[in-house]
């Protein structure tokens, strides 16, 4: 077997060790390893390197954790204090989210409601001698626009009036 041939399998060994090998290549590697001593030695040496890497133990200074916590605590408390004394920012954030949610609900109700009203008005239009154009203008002016304006009101009115706490 020539050197290039072994090199390609040794490349596969590397790929297999880092978990970047296809099942197909892995199979052909296994077959090659069962007959090739140099590649088996290559794999064995690589595995010893990896095992050797686990043989280091760095001691953590026993006072380090306490020192870090002592430094972190005041900062964490500062943040809590800010939130406790200035809850407005948090409240405003929640409020904004609720307003958008309420607007989305109101808008979809307005569209769905208009479609229903239009269907009902169509049934009543014939006996009352309204034509289609009159019907559409009526639904638009007396239903769709007012309901759309009510949805928009969410953004204009203060929170309490919107019923959003």
């Amino acid at each position: 077997m020539n050197i290039d041939h072994h090199e390609s399998f040794q490349r596969m060994i590397d790929e297999s060790l880092v978990g970047a090998i296809s099942a197909e290549k892995e199979q052909s590697l296994r077959e090659h390893l069962s007959t090739c001593t140099p590649c088996k030695e290559y794999l064995s040496a690589s595995k010893r390197v990896i095992a050797g890497l686990s043989g280091f133990s760095f001691e953590v200074n026993p006072t380090l954790n306490a020192r870090i916590l002592a430094a972190l605590r005041p900062q964490a408390e500062q943040v809590h204090e800010v939130l406790a004394h200035h809850p407005d920012a948090m409240r405003q954030h929640n409020m904004r989210f609720k307003i958008w949610a309420a607007f989305a609900v109101a808008l979809s109700m307005s569209i769905v409601g208009s479609a229903l009203v239009y269907q009902v008005a169509k049934l009543l239009a014939t006996p009352m001698y309204f034509d289609n154009a009159q019907l559409q203008v009526g639904v638009l002016v007396f239903w769709l626009l007012p309901s759309f304006c009510s949805a928009l009101w969410m953004f204009a009115a203060p929170g309490e009036k919107r019923g959003v706490a």
């Binding site: 890497l53 280091f56 760095f58 380090l64 916590l69 943040v79």
Partner: protein, 184 residues
């Protein structure tokens, strides 16, 4: 059901000291090990560790809990180490791959790897590890000690997966001769 990572993310958003304390206890050893691999030295690492946790407290809200915590933590630690390198060039690291890491092996301090070796094979590797390009050492440690995937390492080091893989191959190629020609 809330997963561990989501609990961590929530705790960090709320700057919960109890959560931070648990994280520190759980990850301190690994953080030290990672920073030693990055810096090639033991002294000064504790300061980086402390700065890392302070940054975790400050920027914890940016951890979303959708992926594992340790890659995010190591990325924070790496940024801190690199910020320090830029401010204090004498602390600097170096690399022939141009991402600015230089080994501190020439500083005359005792090798942290010599001091930390607990097995015969580790002792044999200690010198080569100390002189290994830090980007290769970092990739080896993240893959084989921290058990991170190539994708996770790629996020930490900000390099493509193929670059990470080739750093690992080159790292292994440098250390492998220590054990070649022997049966395990």
């Amino acid at each position: 059901m809330e997963s561990d990572t989501q609990r961590i993310a929530l705790g960090l958003r709320q700057r919960d000291v109890v959560v931070l304390k648990t994280l520190i206890e759980q990850y301190q050893f690994r953080l030290v090990r990672y920073l030693v691999s990055l810096l090639g030295r033991r002294d000064g690492v504790d300061d980086f560790v402390q700065e890392t946790w302070l940054r975790v407290l400050e920027r914890g809200a940016s951890y979303d809990g959708h992926s594992r915590f340790e890659p995010w933590l190591f990325r924070v630690a790496r940024n801190i180490a690199f910020d320090a390198m830029r401010k204090r060039p004498m602390f600097s690291l170096d690399s022939n791959e141009g991402d600015g890491i230089r080994s501190s092996s020439a500083s005359g301090e005792p090798s942290p790897y010599m001091l930390a070796a607990r097995t015969q094979d580790a002792e044999r590797l200690a010198h080569s590890l100390q002189t290994l390009e830090p980007v290769y050492r970092e990739a080896l440690v993240l893959r084989f000690q921290e058990d991170l995937s190539l994708q996770e390492i790629s996020v930490i080091v900000g390099a493509p997966v193929s670059t990470v893989a080739s750093r690992i191959y080159r790292g292994l190629a440098t250390l492998r001769p220590q054990f070649e020609g022997e049966t395990a």
